[in-house]
Amino acid sequence: AQTVTQSQPEMSVQEAETVTLSCTYDTSESDYYLFWYKQPPSRQMILVIRQEAYKQQNATENRFSVNFQKAAKSFSLKISDSQLGDAAMYFCASKGEYGNKLVFGAGTILRVKS
């Protein structure tokens, strides 16, 4: 079984500053995938970044990067140069290599202050 835990219900960051959102996970699968999705007030689920567990290199996507610590089962999201448009709920999710479903954490609300 897979579980995903996001321990920060809410975070705040000043515009142009950097913020890190935490996520830990547990899985019995040897190969798996990890994701961060963003859900703005419109409630659409938007992919932010994806990490394959077999890759040691941390994924980056413009201002978004992850710190993937496989042994610690930790997968945090760093947002650099935060913008007002980054304000949203952020969900961490995992998926086993041969499974169909994404398993989501409870989410972290990110507020960006101007």
């Binding site: 995938y33 419109s42 659409q44 689920m45 969900f91 169909n100 479903k101 398993v103």
Partner: protein, 113 residues
């Protein structure tokens, strides 16, 4: 850029009524999914569909639910007799392959009165 679309954006129904939620996955994708999110709660997997059959379903996906791909483009979720607790946001998603990223539609907000 291709995207998943869903209709309607908001559906209001009476308890006990049947509803059909519609989705058009990305055209070259082969795997289709439904998830739901009750307000203020986490996103939960309902069902996945591949090669015209259910490939995995959750405990939530009981006999009241069914999925269908009636033609080459649409993917539907039917709830036969809605309950108050079915009120939620329902997301359709699709992926090209089993290990590829799942892309989500904008969701259908279902309100059961």
């Amino acid at each position: 850029e291709p995207e998943v679309t869903q209709t309607p954006s908001h559906q209001v129904t009476q308890m006990g009524q049947e509803v059909i939620l519609r989705c058009v996955p990305i055209s070259n994708h082969l795997y289709f999914y439904w998830y739901r999110q009750i307000l203020g709660q986490k996103v939960e997997f309902l069902v996945s569909f591949y090669n015209n059959e259910i490939s995995e379903k959750s405990e939530i996906f009981d006999d009241q639910f069914s999925v269908e791909r009636p033609d080459g483009s649409n993917f539907t979720l039917k709830i036969r007799s809605t309950k108050l607790e079915d009120s939620a946001m329902y997301f359709c998603a699709s992926s090209r392959g089993l290990t590829d990223t799942q892309y989500f539609g904008p969701g259908t907000r279902l309100t059961v009165l």
